[in-house]
């Protein structure tokens, strides 16, 4: 709820809905008493400020380009070969989001959240990794969105004595939590150099870290073989913990417990983990690296409950949880409610639909989910004075209602210049929207006639193949001739060419002018023949018959002409 600035408090307001905004005005409605002074202002309240931000405009334009490219992927290819394409398109969308974030100086939390959700959806739904690879992808996901570790590490490494820096152990633990064991080992070596007495302990830790198995999807090892190897390693680490190999060094003991997936120890480092989904991934890494997609939801729910003290999840948390539960519809629904712009849900749903992941989810008016969201998004775009052109492509790819929406919206685009009208016309013509073509051409032609630009008016009637209007214009010319005795705009009438055939009246105009030219050039017999044909062809307006007969008079005096005319006039 927001106060609208400029509205005086205590006044009665009236309002009317527009396509993307509300018109608000003060009214004088009062039961009794004298009316005060009115306010001459009308306020326009817009709900979608996002559209008007220049940086988000780049998002809309670039994603429009990606969207159109996606629609043209052929349907008949087998889905196996299409998956890499879909993943690549998903990554394109995400890089556009990140480019936007980079431009906005402060990272907008909405964009961060959008990218996080989209990335998770890409991992779980589009890439759809099986057990083994799944954890690796989730690790990548967490690492991408928790980049403050590298910042801290940089600070530590650039100091004089990294191993004594106060953030040193935080960095080491963060590396372990993210499964970045190579980096952990490098860091630990610096500490090892400072403590020669504990050399063997550090050597042991280093060896354990180096031996942790990571599943290699491209390799020859099966998942079961990996699982066996991993369990063996896990047991080895457990043995060293139990025989107090690290007891004298509290830090190394913590690391050891983390490697064993000790949940209590993990929860002691909540500030380093910072989110429940980071906790989830670490937990899976060190307890159950062969997690299957179908098992995710159980671990996700328990992780969230363990991590969040207050127990009340934020909207983002619910969305991520729904994703881990593979409830795509819930993800889309929650995103639609949480975000005030349709951009994200429309594009994501469209991509998921192309991956054939959405069953047709009928809404009460019978359209499917993808189309509904695209229509909402495009309708919002259409209210923008500039982005309406992007919206057209979106309507094109909504098979059920897209055309109807476009027909209604395109007529509302203001036509300030001829160039804009030409672009709108091209859009209508390409889609065989002939009613809209005629309507636009008529508007432009009427405007031209009002401004006395008869050539322009004629050119619009030709475009619309509007014979009636061409007739109107010809009448104007003929009226002008009757009033002034000469033709205006000779450059037009003399050069009508085949457009003369558009309407009878136009043909008459052209031929009548030709008659005048022939007469002026003293080709009297040709002039007479033409005049005769004009009279007999009955294309002359009734009001002109007298004029034609009058024109015939001087010709009758011409000797070479009179026989023809005499016969004709009878």
């Amino acid at each position: 709820m927001q106060n609208i600035s400029g509205i005086r408090p205590g006044k009665r307001m009236g309002f009317a809905w527009g396509p993307g905004d509300i018109l608000v005005y003060e009214t004088q409605n009062k039961a009794s008493g004298p009316t005060g002074s009115g306010c001459a202002f009308i306020h326009v309240v817009r709900k979608d400020e996002d559209i008007y931000s220049p940086i988000l405009r780049k998002l809309f334009n670039e994603s429009h380009h990606i969207f159109v490219g996606l629609q043209t992927i052929k349907d008949d290819l087998p889905s196996k070969s299409k998956k890499p394409q879909f993943v690549s398109i998903s990554r394109n969308y995400r890089s556009v989001i990140r480019a936007c974030m980079e431009e906005l100086q402060q990272a907008v939390s909405i964009l961060l959240a959008i990218e996080l959700i989209w990335n998770l959806c890409e991992v779980l739904f589009i890439d759809a990794a099986p057990a083994g690879s799944l954890l690796l992808h989730l690790l990548d996901w967490v690492r991408l969105h928790k980049s403050d570790v590298d910042e801290k590490a940089k600070g530590v490494l650039q100091s004089d004595s990294p191993a004594e820096h106060r953030d040193y152990w935080d960095v080491v633990l963060s590396y372990v939590l993210q499964g970045r064991l190579e980096d952990t080992r490098k860091m630990l070596m610096k500490q090892a150099m400072l403590q020669p007495a504990a050399k063997s302990m550090y050597k042991l830790m280093d060896s354990l870290l180096s031996k942790m198995p990571f599943y290699n999807p491209g390799g020859t090892q099966t998942l079961t073989e990996f699982d066996v190897k991993w369990r063996n390693w896990h047991e080895e680490v457990d043995r060293y913990l139990k025989d107090n190999s690290f007891a004298s060094n509290q830090h190394l003991e913590v690391i050891c417990k983390i490697l064993l997936g000790d949940e209590d120890v993990l929860l002691e480092h909540k500030e380093l983990l910072s989110t429940w989904y980071y906790f989830l991934i670490t937990r899976l890494l060190y307890c159950h690296p062969t997690v299957k997609p179908t098992e995710l939801h159980y671990y996700a729910q328990s992780s969230m409950m363990m991590f969040l003290d207050s127990g009340v999840p934020e909207p983002l948390d619910s969305i991520l949880l729904a994703a881990f539960e593979f409830d795509i519809h819930q993800v889309i629904k929650d995103c639609s409610i949480a975000l005030n712009n349709w951009w994200f849900v429309a594009h994501l749903t469209d991509l998921l639909d192309h991956c054939k992941l959405l069953q047709s989810h009928n809404l009460h008016f019978g359209s499917n989910l993808r189309e509904f969201l695209l229509l909402e998004y495009a309708s919002g775009l259409f209210t923008h004075h500039s982005l309406w052109q992007c919206a057209v492509d979106y309507f094109d790819h909504c098979p059920e209602f897209g055309r109807v929406y476009l027909e209604l919206q395109i007529e509302r685009v203001p036509l300030d210049t001829e160039r804009k009208a030409l672009k709108v016309l091209r859009i209508c013509e390409e889609r065989q929207m002939s009613e809209q073509v005629r309507s636009i051409c008529k508007i432009m032609a009427m405007r031209a006639v009002r401004n006395n630009r008869l050539g322009s008016a004629l050119s619009w009637s030709i475009r619309a193949k509007d014979a009636a209007f061409a007739t109107l214009i010809s009448e104007r010319f003929l009226q002008d001739y009757c009033a002034k005795g000469t033709f205006s705009d000779l450059d037009l009438i003399d050069n009508l060419g085949s457009t003369m055939l558009l309407s009878d009246r136009l043909t008459f105009l052209g031929k009548y002018r030709e008659f005048h030219k022939l007469y002026g050039e003293k080709c009297f017999s040709d002039a007479a023949k033409l005049l005769l044909s004009l009279m007999t062809a009955k294309i002359a307006p009734q009001s002109f018959w007298m004029t034609l007969l009058t024109d015939a008079l001087p010709l009758l005096e011409q000797k070479e002409v009179s026989p023809h005319l005499n016969i004709g006039l009878k």
């Binding site: 220049p54 780049k58 500039s386 300030d416 160039r419 804009k420 030409l422 322009s456 050119s459 050069n495």
Partner: protein
């Protein structure tokens, strides 16, 4: 090859700032004008040459915005008057000269004719502007041709009702003669010395009166002129010979907005269109290749020679006038990586090409093969 820079405004015009030809420099600065915005802008950009870039294929990094200024109305025409000044044509009917101050890197209005183009009771958009310092010639939807001089407030010459339809583009034929194109498919030649209200010559295509939107003159052979219009056909005309085009080539599937001969290599021509494509045309004459090998083209281009040139010395007749026939080959290449929204404007200088689209993007190519 081409990199897109998204600029959050639909680009209606893009022009390189002229470079001094003696230095054989590649152009670095260009100006753009926007349209269809609540607040339109004229912007100046730089594509600096980064010497140790190590980048390939002419990709020189993003153009950087130097400065910009508010512009009242859509920018329908834009030309550099000289190194500091830019003339624009506005949809409000105004003609404005902007000055780019190099020291402070700002741009400001230097001179303006507010209602240069108008109807009796309304504004009329000024559709195109062309200049040859200090003379500026503008045309508009009101059918007027106006001759202005920079630094003089009064209008040097006004041809009222020069056309009964909208004049869409204008170009110099000679220093005192100009060519205009209009909505009823005519090219009109005007001799400005004669101070008359009617054209010296009218050329048009017989048959359909397809509106023409752009015109450009061959840089060396001044009788050759290229036009494009609503049907996307590229027409070549010889203004000395008759009133019909000498060749017609199918180019685009929608309106052609601009056509440009390359200023120093006129065997190359560039066109851009509402259909989202930008084509590079290259002609070569006196081909020794047997006709059955000439079928090879980069994109399907068909042409018809509307008029066989009777007699005359073949070597003097430009390959352009022959179109794509047995006498000369024509090669066409698409310059943009994929279909975009309408390409509204292009400019080419040296090896550099810049264009602007309705997808709110600018494309730059610094290694055009000319």
């Amino acid at each position: 090859m081409e990199s897109a820079k998204y600029v959050s405004q639909k680009v209606s015009k893009a022009r390189w700032r002229p470079v001094s030809s003696s230095f054989l420099q590649q152009p670095e600065i260009f100006a753009t004008g926007s349209w269809d915005n609540e607040e339109n802008k004229i912007s100046i950009w730089s594509v600096g040459n980064y010497e140790n870039s190590g980048l390939e294929d002419g990709f020189e990094g993003d153009p950087q915005l130097i400065c910009e200024n508010k512009h009242d109305g859509d920018v329908l025409g834009l030309q550099f008057l000289d190194q500091e000044r830019i003339v624009t044509a506005s949809s409000t009917g105004a003609v404005t000269i902007f000055r780019h101050h190099h020291n402070s890197q700002t741009i400001s209005v230097s001179q303006q004719w507010v209602k240069a183009h108008h109807y009796p009771c309304d504004n009329a958009p000024c559709t195109a502007v062309v200049c040859s310092s200090p003379e500026i010639i503008t045309v508009g939807e009101d059918g007027r041709i106006i001759v202005l001089r920079a630094d003089q407030d009064c209008m040097a010459q006004v041809i009222e009702n020069a056309d009964s339809s909208t004049i869409h583009a204008v170009t110099y034929l000679r220093t005192t003669e100009i060519l205009t194109v209009n909505s009823i498919g005519q090219i009109k030649l005007w001799d400005l010395r004669q101070q008359s209200n009617s054209a010296s010559q009218i050329l048009s295509l017989s048959g359909d009166r397809v509106p023409l939107y752009c015109i450009d003159r061959h840089p060396n052979q001044q009788h050759i002129v290229a036009t494009g219009g609503q049907d996307g056909m590229l027409c070549m005309w010889d203004v000395r010979q008759g009133s019909m085009p000498s060749s017609l080539m199918e180019a685009h599937s929608a309106e052609m907005w601009e056509v440009h001969f390359h200023p120093t290599n006129p065997d190359h021509l560039f066109t851009c269109s509402e259909d989202g494509s930008l084509l590079h045309w290259e002609t070569s004459s006196h081909s020794d290749m047997p006709s059955f090998l000439q079928g090879n083209r980069n994109s399907s281009v068909t042409s018809r020679s509307a008029m066989a040139l009777a007699g005359g010395n073949q070597s003097l007749i430009s390959a352009w006038l022959n179109g794509d026939s047995s006498k000369s080959r024509l090669e066409t290449t698409h310059m943009l990586p994929s279909q975009t929204l309408s390409v509204n404007s292009l400019d080419v200088l040296g090896q550099c090409l810049v264009c602007g689209t309705d997808g709110e993007a600018i494309f730059i190519n610094k290694q055009v093969p000319v």
